[in-house]
């Protein structure tokens, strides 16, 4: 059945021609040399004052990258990227190590203000704890501009800084974990990222610590012809908890820009990491011109017993998205979750999904994915759920719904479900009646119709996480919550 009017209106409100963050910041900046070469990598590494091992790590990745071929299996099409026409380093001139916010270029501060990102730490009023405080790491082109609330986090033992800083200050931690979840040669774009990653966030939550506030990173691409290659590494030690948010925007430009990020999460025994993304890169204009190529590798490793990693994503931006936040469920009783709302408008192409790889006993995972296509867009869910020999009693529940608005778009579902263990129980459902019998029964019993109950339950999952996103980040996300499931197909 066709989509309901309310949903159509909601989606229209975030159509590509409504993009609000398309402005360009006019700021003095410097760029590295054009093109991808050892020289570029050395230049980058030197700029960041990196130790020798890091430079070697990058060079090794570059050599491997040069041997690799671009993958073509995703359902996206775009002209070939010329990696020699790109700049791999761009930085606002004034941010070479500002000591305090006062030293930061006011133009930059204004930019973040315009984007609604609070860079100034709110003063704590006597006796009043402000609600929803968020520590922000702001990445502008290739560098981290500022990280807020560092001191307060330090008191709790939490390390939150840019990855460049971490390479210098905490080399042992970085060395131990960098590339341990997404190996250097994992895939084409991850290898490229390993060679030329410029900045990103580093989070370390020590044993038993519950991170006192939300952490977030805000990525902004400003320069022309510049690729942004960020790298994020989050480690939660035994019993730790951290919730991390990521937001991103880019100016409206005619040519396509590349964003190839790698995010690695490590959760040890009893630890929990919640990773939320509001992806709002410039999606191109209404004729499909310009926009960001968002080729991202995100993976979490539930290394310890009872560990949990949860991915939440709201995808409304990018011309092309190629992204599969995944969980390796290595630990016994570990749990992976993936909640996604992906909205494609205009000429956007989204090929996204998740992988839940069950290795440990009693590991469980849940996938809830809602894809909405409008205009001339293509939206593909591609997911893998697999249970290996030793993953006895593994459980998965997957629900992926797609909704089409109009006749020129497409919605596709490509799930791979591989079970190598008899006691693993996998359910992949697109029929909305199969959420959880208990929950359904509960709702129906209280007089809700089946459809209301389903909407309540599915939206409930998503809402849970979305409501924790700061309002400034997630106006679109908030609107999307009310999107009805009516008319969706499996």
């Amino acid at each position: 059945m066709p989509a309901v009017q309310e949903t159509i209106d909601r989606v229209k409100a975030i159509d590509v021609d409504q993009y609000k963050y398309g402005f360009v910041t006019d700021i003095d900046s410097e760029r590295g040399a054009k093109g991808l070469s050892e020289e570029t990598v050395r230049f980058l590494s030197a700029k960041k004052d990196e130790p020798e091992w890091m430079t070697e790590w990058r060079l090794d990745a570059l050599r491997r990258f040069q041997q690799m071929e671009e993958p073509d299996w995703a359902r996206v099409s775009y002209p070939k990227i010329d990696f020699d026409e790109l700049y791999y380093w761009a930085s606002p001139k004034s941010v070479e190590g500002p000591k305090s916010l006062d030293e930061v270029d006011p133009e930059l501060l204004a930019t973040y203000e315009k984007l609604g990102i609070p860079l100034r730490e709110q003063e704590v009023l006597a006796g009043v704890e402000p609600k929803n405080r968020v520590a922000v790491d702001a990445v502008f082109d290739s560098v981290s501009v500022v990280t807020t609330f560092k001191e307060e986090l330090k008191k709790a033992g939490v390390i939150f800084c840019s990855i460049s800083e971490a390479v210098r200050e905490y080399p042992d931690l970085v060395r131990k974990y960098l590339g341990s979840v997404v190996p250097v040669t994992d895939n084409y774009y991850a290898t490229l990222n390993s060679a030329v990653f410029s900045d990103g966030s580093f989070v370390y939550v020590p044993e038993g610590v519950r991170c006192p506030m939300e952490l977030s990173t805000y990525f902004r691409i400003n320069e022309q012809n510049t690729g942004q290659f960020e790298r994020t590494l989050i480690i939660a030690e035994k019993g730790a908890y951290v919730s991390y948010l990521e937001g991103c925007t880019a100016p409206q430009r005619d040519e396509n820009q590349l964003h190839a990020a790698v995010v690695e999460l490590v959760a040890l025994d009893d630890a929990e990491i919640k990773y939320s993304t509001v992806q709002n890169w410039f999606p191109g204009d209404k004729d499909g011109k310009g926009g960001i190529y968002n080729f991202v590798t995100k993976r979490g490793d539930c290394r310890g017993k009872n560990s949990k990693i949860s991915w939440t994503q709201v995808e409304t931006g990018s011309a092309i998205t190629w992204k599969y936040p995944s969980c390796i469920l290595r630990g016994e009783n570990s749990r992976g979750e993936f909640y996604s709302i992906a909205v494609a408008n205009g000429y956007q192409q989204i090929d996204s999904g998740t992988k839940m790889i069950h290795l440990g006993k009693n590991s469980s995972s849940r996938i809830i994915s809602k894809g909405i296509s409008a205009g001339k867009s293509q939206n593909t869910y591609r997911g893998l759920v697999s249970a290996h020999r030793k993953a006895s009693n593994a459980r998965n529940f997957t629900q992926c719904d797609s909704l089409l608005i109009g006749q020129d778009c497409g919605a596709h579902t490509v799930p791979y479900i591989e079970s190598k263990n008899a006691s693993a129980q996998f359910e992949h459902e697109a029929t909305t009646s199969k959420i959880s019998d208990d929950q359904m029964f509960y709702c129906l019993q209280r007089g809700l119709t089946e459809e209301e109950a389903v909407a309540l339950i599915v939206n409930g999952f998503v809402k849970d996480v979305i409501q924790q996103l700061p309002m400034e980040f997630a106006v679109e996300a908030q609107k999307l919550i009310s999107i009805s499931l009516e008319g969706s197909v499996g």
Binding site: A422, Q425, H428, A430, T431
Partner: protein
């Protein structure tokens, strides 16, 4: 990825290329047919046999499985075929007509030609048709299988088969059994075209007898279901065999037509049953069912692409798999909904029951949708026997073995019952029991 670099041929691929050169003289066909054969063999030469890097064969690596390719089977000896038919007991007791193809060639002498003619069914030899002016059309591939390796193997080597035509309005009173007999060792490559003309009705049973030894069996069924026509096909792939068994169905469904099929696999070491179904006319229904049983080292693959190319059609895909030992089950299903194919209703379900620790199931239920006013759903489950159900039965005094058998039978019977061809239900359920008791 780089097409210009010649691939290194496996033993089987070299054998196949050599076999084509040897068999060339015996492989009949018009000039156009010969060109198609040459093109198909070039495809094997250039790309090799389908392997796991080819997405459609990700789980079913024919290249790794086929160690060598046996020569083509020679013409069948009729007496041998007769003996084999006598001991062939699929659908015993069911009143039916027979059409016999042995070692890839139609045997009219053993087929019920006259009785069928009385019902409005004509049967011709594909070998003869291939030499005729429309020969090449008989080897046409559907768009969704344009580069399919198994189909190319068939086109290159096809020996013969039948062209069955049910004339307009004829409702065939009994099921027709199309038996493929392997009367001697060697590759058995056949292709059949089944035309059910406007308003006609046919129930087709596809069975296999004999032993092809090291030779692979590669059979294509090309169904043309005309407007308002009805066709049900039951494919019974049973019995042990160590060579590859490859089956392809190509179905075109006209307007207001009904198509049903059941693919039943139990026994062979390596089976691929692939189907390409295309809705060409509006207001039609298709029900595609599968029952798969595999044990030991067996691999059983049910692959399916349903193209909803026109509006207002319904399709149901329902597949059940039971795996034991170290067996591997594969289900790959895809529903395509073309732009403007509004009001499509597609529902796909695949369920697997794993009886042993080492069995493996790969499910891939795909949807590809380009129209906005459709209902399409898919589901996949895999798991083991529900201990609660087992307990329930045992608490009622049923021994464990029997309780398990009962549960497996109930699980598979769901698909057989939904298929709903009452004539064959009993026969199929007996086959499930045979498999469970190890026959």
């Amino acid at each position: 990825m780089n097409a210009s670099v010649p691939i290194k041929h496996t033993q089987a691929e070299s054998d196949l290329i050599g076999r084509f050169d040897t068999a060339r003289g015996a492989l009949t066909g018009s000039v156009a047919v010969t060109a198609l054969r040459e093109a198909a063999v070039s495809q094997i030469r250039d790309k090799g046999l389908p392997h796991r890097r080819v997405e459609e064969y990700k789980y079913t690596d024919l290249r790794a499985f086929m160690k060598a390719a046996a020569p083509m089977a020679a013409a069948a000896d009729e007496a041998t075929v007769r003996t084999l038919l006598d001991s062939h007991d699929a659908f015993d007791g069911l009143e039916r007509y027979r059409i016999v193809v042995a070692n890839g060639a139609f045997l009219p002498g053993l087929s019920d030609i006259e009785a069928l003619a009385g019902e409005g069914v004509s049967v011709a030899s594909l070998t003869e048709e291939l030499a005729g002016p429309h020969g090449a059309q008989l080897l046409a591939s559907p768009k969704s299988a344009a580069n399919d390796g198994v189909l190319a193997l068939n086109t290159a080597f096809v020996q013969g088969g039948v062209v069955v035509t049910v004339k307009e309005g004829a409702e065939v009173s009994r099921p027709v059994e199309l038996i493929h007999v392997a009367a001697s060792a060697g590759a058995q490559i056949s292709r059949n075209r089944i035309v059910v003309a406007k308003g006609a009705k046919l129930s087709l049973l596809e069975t296999f007898a004999g032993d092809s030894g090291d030779g692979e069996i590669n059979t294509v069924f090309d169904y043309d279901v005309a407007d308002s026509a009805s066709l049900a096909t039951t494919r019974l792939i049973v019995g042990q065999s160590h060579a590859a068994r490859l089956f392809t169905s190509i179905t075109t469904i006209g307007a207001k037509a009904e198509f049903k099929s059941l693919g039943f696999i139990a026994g062979p070491r390596f089976t691929r049953n692939q189907q390409f179904v295309n809705f060409a006319g509006e207001n039609s229904n298709a029900g595609i069912y599968g029952v798969t049983m595999a044990r030991d080292e067996d691999l059983a693959d049910q692959t399916l692409i349903v193209d909803h190319a026109v509006p207002n059609c319904n399709s149901r895909e329902f597949f059940k798999t039971v795996l034991d030992g170290r067996a591997k089950g594969v289900y790959q299903g895809r529903i395509n909904v073309a732009p403007h194919a509004q009001k499509t209703d597609g529902e796909m379900m695949t369920q697997a029951l794993l009886l042993s620790e080492e069995a493996e199931m790969a499910n891939k239920p795909e949807l590809e949708i380009f129209a906005d006013d459709v209902i399409c759903a898919h589901g996949a489950t895999s798991g083991q026997i529900d201990e609660d159900l087992l307990f329930y039965l045992r608490a009622r005094g049923i021994p464990e073995d029997e309780a398990r058998t009962l549960l497996v039978l109930a699980f598979l019977a769901e698909a057989i019952e939904e298929y709903g061809e009452d004539d064959v239900t009993e026969g199929l359920e007996a086959r499930v029991r045979d498999w469970l008791t190890g026959h």
